[in-house]
Amino acid sequence: MTQTLEQPVIRGVRFFLAHTPGLVRYGSKPSRDIARDATIADAIAAHLRSYEAAVAYPPNRAFLGHIHPDTLAAMPQPWFTSAAPGTRWGAHGEIMPEEEFYGILKICDAFDLVHLEAGFVEEARAALSPHPLLTPVDLERLGTGFSEADIVTQYRGSLPALPLYLRNGRLIGCMQAAHEEDASLAADVLLENLTCKASAMMAMRTLLVQEQLDPLALPYMLNSGEEAVGDRYQRGGGNLAKAVAEMCGCQAATGVDIKGFCCGPVHALTVAGSLVSARVFSQVAVVGGCALAKLGMKYRGHLQCDQPILEDVLAAVAVVVSADDGVSPRLRLDALGRHTVAAGSSQKAIFEHLVSQPLERLGLHFTDVDKYATELHNPEVTEPAGSGNVPQLNYRVIAGLAAMRKEITPAQVPAFVATHGMPGFAPTQGHIASAVPFLGHAVDGLRDGSLQRVMLLAKGSLFLGRMTQMADGMSLLLERNAAGSREEKRQ
């Protein structure tokens, strides 16, 4: 008796950016430095960008689908000097100003932990009322707010709360802790987790509405972020996925979190594809919320170069994997690249597992993949801080491996990098920056025929958690759909 497997496809993908200069002070690096030296807060404040500047910033425009990442290569650098104005909505999502995002946080707040000042609530309500993805029920959740005096009392009170500010220093509310002693329910942890929930919700709502997907038809959601949702007895309990599903009207869904450091999203896409392939579910969503802790991570380098602090955006992604529809790009589950336990930690071994082995399995060469999407961190963020150009390094390693295998000559390495790679453009938002930022452009290209094959490669620094010295990695191949749907037969 033969068993048939479904061919999973990427049905759609959308992104969400929130421009949150007022939250940069709560990034991990800024908050620790400010605690040692309060004057650093002033230095940071003096280098925060306006919303207009963040909207116009070419890498953000590439992230949201206004422009293709390849076009960044020809743009004069530094990109933050670009004078061309931008617009809020790109083909793949929006960039929301902080005044509205604080409102979104309140809308997502199920425990009355976000206390906003009353005047600010009305401003947020007015700003959010025309938003195409919000409903009157959402806006009701904004409530009425507190007086400014109350806010000040609260954040100076016995139960520690975090004051919430705008870029210009205006106090607009505070984030409560949920427990006096439980470190997992401290205000900063809850703020981080709530921004994940809110940003993932916005990305998913964008996808559902713009791709006209019925939220009630979604049975399962996977969240792939690096936050830890829980309390002191279960610090990483998780399932933020279900909280996001609830906020997106996915009443027929449950969910689970897939944890893998920066490799989480690619692992989650693999799991999603497998569930669809086995006909367990007709479609599965994969979301990833933002990384508040990474705001201002490289701020010192930016201050030293007297440039704007570029890590002032929170980023999120939402993807739906569904059964073959004949047009959407196919996930080749038979060509997964896995960095196994036995592989060891040399770059050569890692990339052999992630690139060479899956391509060999399909009888393909390195040049048969039109675009590799690796870690796509914006080099303008990382280079001033001495952290190099991560995408370029990854592409050079892939090209170097191709040269070692004599598939290209050493002289062809730079051309390979330019053709099969791309400039980095993603905010340094951890798991969000790993391969998935290109997914919007990949789906567009694979649908319109300008791309035949795209490989997503992600890596995870497991060693940071001190449970293993190992790193991790996973790769996924996407290919253009042949016209008409097919089913793979397997004996």
């Binding site: 930690s345 770059q347 952290s387 991560v390 990854n394 920056a433 620094s461 060693f463 010295q469």
Partner: protein, 42 residues
């Protein structure tokens, strides 16, 4: 500079040469690796 018999601290970087790769190199040269770390900056 001889690695043979020396105690080595291997400071690796995820995007360069990782700690365990450095350790393998040092050990093959006869050194003893007393600390092995890998840093990740993104």
């Amino acid at each position: 500079m001889k690695l043979q018999g020396k105690k080595v601290i291997a400071l690796g970087e995820r995007d360069g040469v990782q700690g365990s790769a450095l350790a393998a190199c040092a050990q093959s040269a006869g050194a003893e690796v007393v600390l092995e770390t890998t840093y990740c900056f993104v």
